[in-house]
Amino acid sequence: MKITVDTDLCEVHGDCVVAAPDIFDIGEDDDVVQILNAEPGEEYRKAIVQAVKMCPVAAIRIEG
């Protein structure tokens, strides 16, 4: 699976970081979320699906 974030939408709410901390991070000076692992293993799917659902601005996509 491949993870992408629409950086025009991201407002750094941080819900994805709470849902999937191994995949998403927001550093101190980041205007948008950083993807730590854009092609994670299946074991992360549940957490990432949760992150997609929780994102208040629907900025996260999963492919595959």
Partner: protein
């Protein structure tokens, strides 16, 4: 079989002031009727302090939809809640702030502030919060029996707001005094008149400008310094009015809501032996599930409103452009379509799509701060006590917007 519809008084102050402590202080029967029978309900008001009417959505899924569809349900066309006047509504004489802005302008403002509220930044506050919690519990242990709302729940969210914003120690007492005033504009035990509320807001706004000056001269690692920096240079991002408006927004969203969530949470634990035992088992490291569950049953703000941007139909009702649509968060938090046994407090609830923080672009900026404050405070309180017992009945603030607890008498025994 038809059941008799309960009398609907979902926006009456007294519905909440005289709430039933066995149903979280909420009119759960009225909410259920709305969700099942009138999921898009037209509420008419007859009060000069309030708006004229609003379509009320009460199902969890509908609230998610309204909150996330900013194109159809706008926040920038006036009004925040059912009040006619709020200080951050530029359409009705207030100052501009994030909550009453949409689109790119909202995102620009939000990004300036959001960086201070990310999970990573919030973690840096943990040491400070532990110290506040320790002081609060020291004081509580000394008292033994006290009003939980004042002695425990009040102080920490206020100090946290002071820290995040960058309010100097010597100004905090007066600053907290103003913030407390506009928490309950219609409860005469707290504010004698609405004029007092407006005066407090005025004072807070004047002070915000002073604080902005201070931070221009001495920038620090706080939100006020961020706001000020964004208002400088050849192309300032925020106007002076937006800076003050956003401070008012932060102040009104930060302190009282967290206090409310803690107080309702504590009350439920004392009613619920199983949940209390669960807390004791987990007191060294409280999982986020119990915090989110407290926030769900507390529903600190019962509702917020948006404005329809075009004519459309919802549950068979014709909503016209310009109509106000109220998201009744408190009802959406008890929807069995979204929750397993919603009327039960489940500290380990995993699936918890509550709407207390909102769910869209305007989602609570302070959600991570609030969750950390609550976790730390309850850990400290539980670790240092062997029992927490009620010392009298709970009473609620008289308000239909903010679900404050007026009094929660408790007795604690040291560990």
């Amino acid at each position: 079989m038809t059941t008799t519809a309960p009398e609907l008084r979902i926006f009456d102050y007294d519905t909440y002031a005289q709430g039933d402590p066995t149903t979280f202080g909420l009119p759960l029967e009225q909410y259920r009727h709305l969700r099942d029978e009138e999921p898009c309900f037209l509420q008419e008001f007859d009060d000069p302090m309030l708006i004229d009417r609003a379509w009320v959505v009460s199902r969890n899924e509908d609230i998610w939809e309204v909150d996330r569809n900013t194109e159809l349900y706008a926040a920038d066309r006036g009004y925040v809640n059912i009040w006619q006047v709020v200080p951050i509504d530029p359409k009705n004489g207030g100052l501009p702030a994030m909550l009453t802005t949409d689109g790119p302008r909202h995102r620009e403002q939000r990004q300036v502030l959001a960086k201070a509220f990310t999970p990573g930044m919030v973690r840096k506050l943990e040491g400070k919060f532990r110290k506040y919690a320790k002081d609060v519990v020291d004081d509580a242990l000394e008292k033994g029996t006290f009003n939980f709302v004042h002695t425990i729940a009040h102080n920490m969210p206020m100090e946290a707001l002071g820290d995040v914003l960058g309010v100097p120690q010597e100004d905090r007492a007066k600053f907290f005094g103003w913030v407390d005033k506009f928490a309950a504009p219609f409860d005469t035990r707290i504010t004698a008149s609405f004029d007092e509320v407006m005066e407090a807001i005025g004072n807070l706004m004047v002070y915000s400008e002073e604080l902005a000056e201070l931070k221009r001269a001495n920038p620090a690692d706080d939100v006020m310094s961020r706001l000020v920096a964004s208002g400088e240079g050849g192309n300032p991002l925020m106007s002076a009015d937006e800076i003050v408006g956003n401070v008012a927004l932060l102040a009104s969203g930060a302190a009282e809501s967290t206090r409310t969530a803690m107080s309702h949470g504590m009350h439920e634990l004392m009613r619920n032996e199983k949940a209390m035992a669960w807390m004791r088992t987990h007191q060294d490291n409280l999982p986020p599930t119990v915090i989110q569950e407290m926030v769900r049953i507390a529903s600190p703000f019962t509702h917020l409103v948006r404005t329809a941007t075009r004519d459309h139909e919802l549950h068979g009702k014709q909503i016209k452009e310009g109509d106000i649509v109220a998201m009744l968060f408190a009802a959406g938090n008890f929807d069995e379509r979204a929750f397993d046994r919603p009327d039960e407090f489940q500290p380990d609830r995993i699936e918890n799509p509550h709407v207390s923080f909102g769910r869209g672009a305007h989602k609570c900026l302070g959600q991570h701060v609030a969750a950390l404050e609550m976790k730390i405070l309850f850990e400290e309180l539980f670790q240092r006590t062997s029992s927490i017992e009620p010392a009298g009945p709970i009473s609620y603030v008289r308000d239909a917007y903010s679900r404050g607890v007026y009094e929660l008498p408790v007795t604690i025994t040291p560990a």
